[in-house]
Amino acid sequence: MNPNTPTPPPDSDDIQSLAGEYVLGTLSAARRRDVEARMAQEPALRDAVDAWEARLLPLTALAEPVEPSLSLWKRIERSVASPAAAAAANVKRTAADVQTWWNNLNLWRGLAGTGFAAAAVMAAVLVVRMQAPATPQYMVVLVAPQDKAPGWVVQTGGRQQEQLSLIPLGTVAVPSDKSLQFWTKADAWRGPVSLGLVQPGKALRVPIDKLPALEANQLFELTLEPANGSPIDRPTGPIQFIGRAVKVL
């Protein structure tokens, strides 16, 4: 072993550690620039970065998909057609772009609940703990009555203490002249209370400050109703998904 070897061997801990943290993303801006500059000169470092990128790539699937605004591709097309314009755009985002983004906030809001199914199965191996206040207090999994396939998750607590979220695990088909209606009933209640109509595949947020506190074993269900919901104050159609609250914290 020659202690004066100028370049460490490819599998040296230093190279691996630097490459790993570069790909992981924990390096400072200055150290990132340093690694990027060195990669051009040091094949061993570049190999190590390539290998780390390949190793960790599957983790990208933990990010839930988000639909880009419709204008984004047009912007990219413009920039690609004219590199000078792209450079200018990078320096100064136009007011029009900001406007477009705001206009698309509604689109974004509607889409916020989509695409969690992939994350759900993925998370069988990974549980990412958020800050403590976001921990759910009750968990309800709504399953199809026939095959017990999970279709929706109900969450309460978190940052919005006063609201309950119904989150889709996938999309469901609803006939165009029908709707899905969301109900709940605690053991002691005389009848179910409607929490509103649900768009297939979309999250629903319901203010619960008018409801009694959620309790263990409280029933939640989604029923198939006429397009505008049940004409009376209780379900009239077949149950599509059903589940009971389980205290988790």
Partner: protein, 187 residues
């Protein structure tokens, strides 16, 4: 990530390198929603995430000639360009912006879903994370969490320490050891 099929990322990048804009459009159509999701988790604000995706696609177009299929698969290269653009953005713009409301809600939704998934009966279908799956499983939970917070959420050492209520030095050591264990496991 999209369902696997026979879309040829390497060929699409080669076509980009030859100036065929249709190839870039195909990559965008196929991957943009997944890539925007990756960028949004790192930069936290939708407006910036779209800016990052814009810059990344311009970079993919301009640097397609440097893509070398012998060094790795085209799909991974595309994700690396997007992640690096997002990471450079957050490291260059010291992050003091709060998580916006919508992103916060989405993160909470995801957490609920994950909680559900983590409590399901064993033996149910899992998406295959490949060898990473088993290797992550073997890590101590604290180390695994640090690695996921860094890679998926773009957290710095300091942010991870804050989020997990763990001393900074411990976070750095966990990441070092966790990464070394991952590499050994996957070699």
């Amino acid at each position: 990530m999209p369902a696997p099929d026979d879309f040829d990322y390497d060929a699409a990048l080669a076509a980009c390198a030859q100036g065929q804009r249709q190839a870039l459009a195909q990559i965008y159509t196929r991957e943009s929603r997944y890539l925007l999701g990756v960028a949004l988790r790192i930069v936290r604000q939708r407006q910036y995430a779209e800016d990052v995706l814009h810059d990344a696609f311009v970079a993919i177009w301009q640097r397609a000639t440097t893509f070398d299929a012998a060094r790795g698969a085209g799909r991974g290269w595309i994700y690396s360009v997007v992640r690096n653009t997002a990471l450079n953005w957050v490291r260059n713009n010291a992050r003091d912006v709060p998580v916006d409301e919508e992103t916060g809600a989405a993160l909470e939704d995801e957490m609920a879903v994950q909680h559900h998934a983590s409590t399901r009966d064993a033996g149910e279908t899992r998406v295959d994370l490949g060898r990473l799956d088993g290797c992550l499983d073997r890590l101590e939970p604290g180390r695994r969490e640090c690695i996921v917070l860094a890679y998926v959420d773009g957290c710095s050492h300091g942010e991870i320490a804050e989020r997990t209520q763990t001393p900074l030095g411990t976070v750095k050591a966990w990441i070092q050891r966790g990464m070394r264990a991952l590499r050994e496991c996957m070699t």
